[in-house]
Each structure stands twice: as structure tokens, then as C-alpha cells.
Amino acid sequence: MERSPRRGLAASAQDLVTDWGTVVIDGIVSVGDLGLFCMRTISWLLTRMPRRETLLPNFYQVGVMSLPVVALTGTFIGMVLAVQSYGQFRQLGLETRLGAVINMSLVRELGPVLAATMLAGRVGSAMAAELGTMRVTEQIDALSSMGANPIHYLVVPRFLACLVLIPTLTIMADFMGVVGGYFFTVEVLGIDKHHYWHNSEHFVGVFDLLSGIFKSFFFGAAIAMISCYRGFNCTPGAEGVGRAATAAFVYSFVLILMIDLFLGVMINAVYDTFWPEGLSLI
């Protein structure tokens, strides 16, 4: 085989700059494209609601079909939190404070984030694969050719389903987590029930619960937008569909974490403004 000639340092540096430049430009183009996709979705959402018969199957898929897995996730998060916190809190003699730490972590952070992660895998990947297959088999083109806007017909119902039902499922995950945490702490570890609930009630407020649910609206919107966008821009073939489904989950997960950090900082700032005294566990 013919060997490629050795390249000089300057030429290699030039190639590196070109490659990185291409990556940066492609990234900016993708973000811009996703932004336009979101704007078109919101524009259709505000001007014309989808029909009931297109909404209901999506609500069923996102909501009803995800219930068991979300309930199971929530229950186990609550129990795992109890297991992990118990040892440390016992050393400090603060076992009765377990209710506060379990329920606070659940409703503010772990419930919304883990429910959203689970849903990004279950709902987001399925959406990307379904829309990707429709793109590859020209079904999206067929929709356009019949005078139906694919964003209005395919994306808006999925966006609404995620926006409405992911926060609802988060409430479900929170509830099951509280039940799971209570069961493990009180029934298995034998902590006093009265103190468990008393501390929970004292430290976990409505603000904490609402801040978790508030975040889940953004998680739902992010999952729907990323998944639908990846499906719509699926490359041809089985490999393209598989890649769209994987990318939908990975990008949704990364975005969920980024949104969580950003909103976490913002919510803490709001909390500190209104309740500068705060509450201490000890």
C-alpha cells in the first residue's frame, strides 16, 4: 500500500484547527436548528391545538404506559436513600432526622431527576425511533404532501404529552419514594414513626415539593424537543434510527443535568431571598 507522505508540524496544526473549527461550526448549526425547531413547535402550539385523536394515544403512551416503571423507580429511590443515610445518621445519633433528609432529597432532587432520566430512556428513545422510522420510510414527507404539517401533527402532541405528564409522573415518583423511604426506615430499620413524620413535616415544605415539580416541566419539554428533533433529523437506514434513539437519550440526559444545575442555583437564590434564616437539621 502507498504510504502517505509525512506532514509538517504547521500542516498538522492547520488540520487540527480545521477539524475543531468544523466541530464548533456544526455544533452551533445544530443548536440553531434545534432552536428553530422549538420555535416552530411553540408557534403551532399557540395557534392551533392538535385534535383529540392525535393527543390521546400520545398521552396514553407517555403517561399510562410509564406508570409502573416510574412507580418502581420512585419506591426504590426512597428505600436506597434510607439504606445509605441510616449508617451515617446513626453515628451522629440523628436517626429520627432520616425522614427530613430522605423526603427533602426526594422531592427536591432525586425524584424529578431520576423520573426524568427513566422517562428519557423509555419515552424519549421510543419517540426518536418512531419518528426516525417515519422519516426513513418517507411517512413524514407523506404527511407534508397531504397538507398536514408534521410539526403540528407529530411534534406538538408529543411535546404536550411530555409537558403535562412528566410533572404528573414526577409527583407519582415522589409519592412512591416517600412511601418506600417510610417503609424501609420505619418497618425495616425500626425508627420511630412519630419522629420520622414530625421531622419530615418540619423540614420539607411546599416550596421544596413545588421546586421539584417546577423543574420537571423543563425536563419534560427538553425530553420531547430533543427526542423529536433527533427523530426528524434521522439519517437513513436501521443504523440511523438506532443512532437517533441513542442520541435522544444521551442528549436528553445531559440536558436534564444541565437544566437541573441551572434551576437548582436559581431556586436556591429565590429561597435565600424569601427565607434567609433557613432551617438546620442539627
Binding site: 416552530r40 422510522t133 414527507d141 407534508s144 404532501s145 397531504m146 397538507g147 398536514a148
Partner: protein
């Protein structure tokens, strides 16, 4: 070659393509294409696989936006229409996709009724009546109405796609390789259905095909597209424009080669490519 591309002043062409270029990334698919289709005509666009026939068809309905040039439908420049206006104009088209592109999640009846439900507020009984009439027109029994597309054969799927495309009484029918992948008998059934559609509904048809039987049977005008990478820099991409009968008498070797189905210099190119690879391996 007769002048089939010229429309009368009273009747402007239903489709007009002017100096159109389409590129995907660095790949040039269509270059300097000019085409005018008068109302009522059945035009067959022929050419080898990958020459840009389907892309040309998709630019006519606005599914692919040209890189430069103008595509007009009934005088409207498609590039200047907003998303919503384009959506409104598309009701006047009927598009039969290469692999039928039926919605997997819907039944045959729901597929055929889809455009009606989108654009008209007919009662469910009236919609069912219209769907059954269209299915009967393409020779399908009432029993298919509740089946899913996956349960149908390739020929049946194509006929359902034709019924769906016809349900809104379009002015322009676009067929993308309507007989590809079908047995000769089913191909002829589809050809007959295209002829019947044209006679019964007074529509203009554009048929993308590489099946010469379809071109001869259904079309009254044929244009041939040649791949851009095989053309000389200033050569037009439409290398033939005439009636099906004129195809056989055409002096262009490339057209005759396609009509007769001869590999010609492609065999020599294939041998050259494989001999170039041999020393490396």
C-alpha cells in the same frame, strides 16, 4: 422533437421549473433544470438510479427546496410561500411514494381518510363512503379497510397509496416509481390505474420511473435526466424531451442505451474499478 413544453397563453403551465439547481452538501444533484408541464399532460421522467428524478419530483411539491432557481405551481413560486400557504397548496397535489409511505400506526381506512379528516369536516359515515368508493376504484375489497398496512402485499399497498392520493380530487398527481418492486402483472395493473385516473379525473400527472413499459403506456411526454457527474460542464441535464415514440428514434446514444437497457461503457468502468483495486489487495 415536438414542442410539448410550450403552454398556450390562455392556459399557463401547472408546473414550471426555471434554471433549478439542487445540492446536498458538496453533492450536485440537479443543475440548470428547466421544465414546463401544461395542464392535462402525463409526463414521465426517466433516468438511471441516483440521477435526481425523485429529488426533482420532491421540489415540485416543495418537499425539497432548490438551492437556486424557481419552481412554480399554478403561478405560485413555492420558495416564496410561507409554511402555512404551502400546506394549503399541497391539498391540490396527490403524491404516490415509492414504497407507498402508508402510516404504520393507522388502518387502511384511516390512511385513505387522513387527508379528508385534515381538511374537511365530513361526517364519519360520509368519510367511510368516500374511502370505500376510492378503494373500489383501485380494485380493493371493503375488507381491507380495517387492516394495517403491514398486512398487505406490495401491490395492495401501492393501490392504497393511490386511493389516498386521489381522495381529495387533486389537480396534479405525482408518482414516484409506481411499479418498482412489483411483478409484471401488478405493474400493469398500476399502469392501467394511472391511465384510468387520468381519464376519469382530468388530472395532470408526473411519473418518475425507470420502467419503459410505464413510460410508453401512460405518458404522452417523456423527459430523461442524466446524472450531473457524467455530463460535460455546459451540457443540459435533461438530455431528452419528446413523445414516447420519439424515444426509439432518438440519436443520443445515452438515451438509446437506457431505453434498450444496455450497460454499455458501465461494464468497462466496473472492470476498470475492480482492476484498480486488485494491486492494493
Amino acid at each position: 422533437m415536438n414542442d410539448l413544453s410550450t403552454a398556450t397563453p390562455e392556459q399557463p403551465p401547472i408546473v414550471e421549473v426555471q434554471d433549478m439547481r439542487v445540492t446536498f452538501g458538496s453533492q450536485n444533484v440537479l443543475r440548470g433544470v428547466a421544465l414546463s408541464v401544461p395542464r392535462g399532460q402525463s409526463l414521465a421522467i426517466i433516468g438511471e438510479s441516483g440521477c435526481g428524478k425523485t429529488v426533482l419530483l420532491k421540489t415540485v411539491i416543495g418537499l425539497v427546496r432548490p438551492t437556486s432557481g424557481v419552481v412554480r405551481f399554478c403561478g405560485y413560486n413555492l420558495a416564496e410561500l410561507s409554511d402555512r400557504e404551502l400546506t394549503r397548496q399541497r391539498v391540490r397535489f396527490g403524491y404516490v411514494f415509492q414504497n407507498a409511505a402508508l402510516f404504520d400506526s393507522l388502518t387502511v381506512g384511516q390512511n385513505v381518510a387522513f387527508p379528508l379528516r385534515q381538511h374537511k369536516s365530513e361526517s364519519p359515515s360520509r368519510i367511510r363512503e368516500l374511502v370505500l368508493a376510492r378503494l373500489a376504484e383501485v380494485g380493493l375489497p371493503n375488507s381491507v379497510i380495517s387492516k394495517k398496512p403491514a398486512e398487505l402485499s406490495g401491490g395492495m399497498r401501492k393501490r392504497v397509496a393511490l386511493a389516498r392520493a386521489l381522495i381529495m380530487n387533486p389537480e396534479l398527481m405525482l408518482y414516484d416509481e409506481p411499479t418498482t418492486g412489483l411483478d409484471p402483472i401488478m405493474s400493469d395493473v398500476i399502469n392501467e390505474l394511472m391511465l384510468r385516473t387520468r381519464n376519469q379525473h382530468d388530472v395532470t400527472s408526473i411519473i418518475v420511473t425507470h420502467d419503459m413499459r410505464t413510460a410508453h403506456k401512460v405518458a404522452d411526454r417523456v423527459v430523461m435526466i442524466y446524472p450531473v457527474n457524467r455530463l460535460e460542464p455546459d451540457e443540459p441535464q435533461l438530455i431528452f424531451d419528446g413523445t414516447p415514440d420519439e424515444l426509439k428514434a432518438c440519436g443520443d446514444r445515452r438515451v438509446l442505451q437506457f431505453v434498450r437497457g444496455e450497460a454499455g461503457e458501465r461494464l468497462a468502468e466496473m472492470h476498470q474499478a475492480s482492476s484498480d483495486r486488485e494491486p492494493q489487495s
